[in-house]
Amino acid sequence: MTLTHIQGLLLFALIVSFALGFLSRRRALDRLKYILLSLALFLLAGIAIGWAMYPFSK
């Protein structure tokens, strides 16, 4: 099994956001909001850090 960088990031962000949403919120709607926000922030941070490292990759 192999994953591309973006697949790894997506899987990681999805699973961890799902777990954190269920642990930290009680109501279904609050959980969904938390999961979506956490997922968006994970992806944003991952892509931003990826671009920040890009100049050092060459």
Binding site: M1, L3, F18, L23
Partner: protein, 139 residues
């Protein structure tokens, strides 16, 4: 009932709650989600079990490094071992399932190592959450 008896009864109840909470934490660490399941928090129990289980399964599929104390060369390997051990019984499962050993020569293998460490830390967080909710006075 005299005041001393009331205080003694309250102390005994508090002690019982504390022991119960520690038992729930250990159960939650050993089997991801069990700490919440014992408190009938089914949604959280299933979410913990699935999340930790998926992370471990993906980690094994990616051939990530499952750290052992014997193979630890430095403090980082030891930290990795502690993080991996956080998955409880799933750590033994990961070691048993990873028959071909780790392959961190590719990025995927390295991701696998991180996925397993994340599973461990997430499970410890869930176990601590179960402890906190078990200690909370029931309304």
């Amino acid at each position: 009932m005299p005041d001393e008896e009331i205080i003694a009864a309250a102390g005994s109840t508090q002690w019982r709650n504390e022991v119960n909470a520690i038992g729930i934490t250990l159960a939650g660490w050993l089997v991801p989600g069990l700490g919440h399941a014992l408190q009938r928090m089914w949604g959280r129990a299933i979410a913990c079990f699935l999340s930790v289980g998926l992370l471990v399964a993906i980690s094994v599929g990616l051939r990530g490094n499952v750290f052992t104390p014997a193979a630890a060369n430095d403090a980082f390997d030891m930290l990795g071992y502690v993080a991996d051990l956080g998955t409880g019984s799933f750590y033994a499962l990961a070691r048993w399932l990873e028959v071909h050993g780790a392959d961190v020569s590719k990025a995927s293998g390295d991701y696998g190592t991180r996925f397993l460490a994340t599973a461990g830390v997430l499970n410890l967080l869930a176990a601590l959450h179960a402890y906190e909710t078990a200690r909370r006075p029931k309304s």
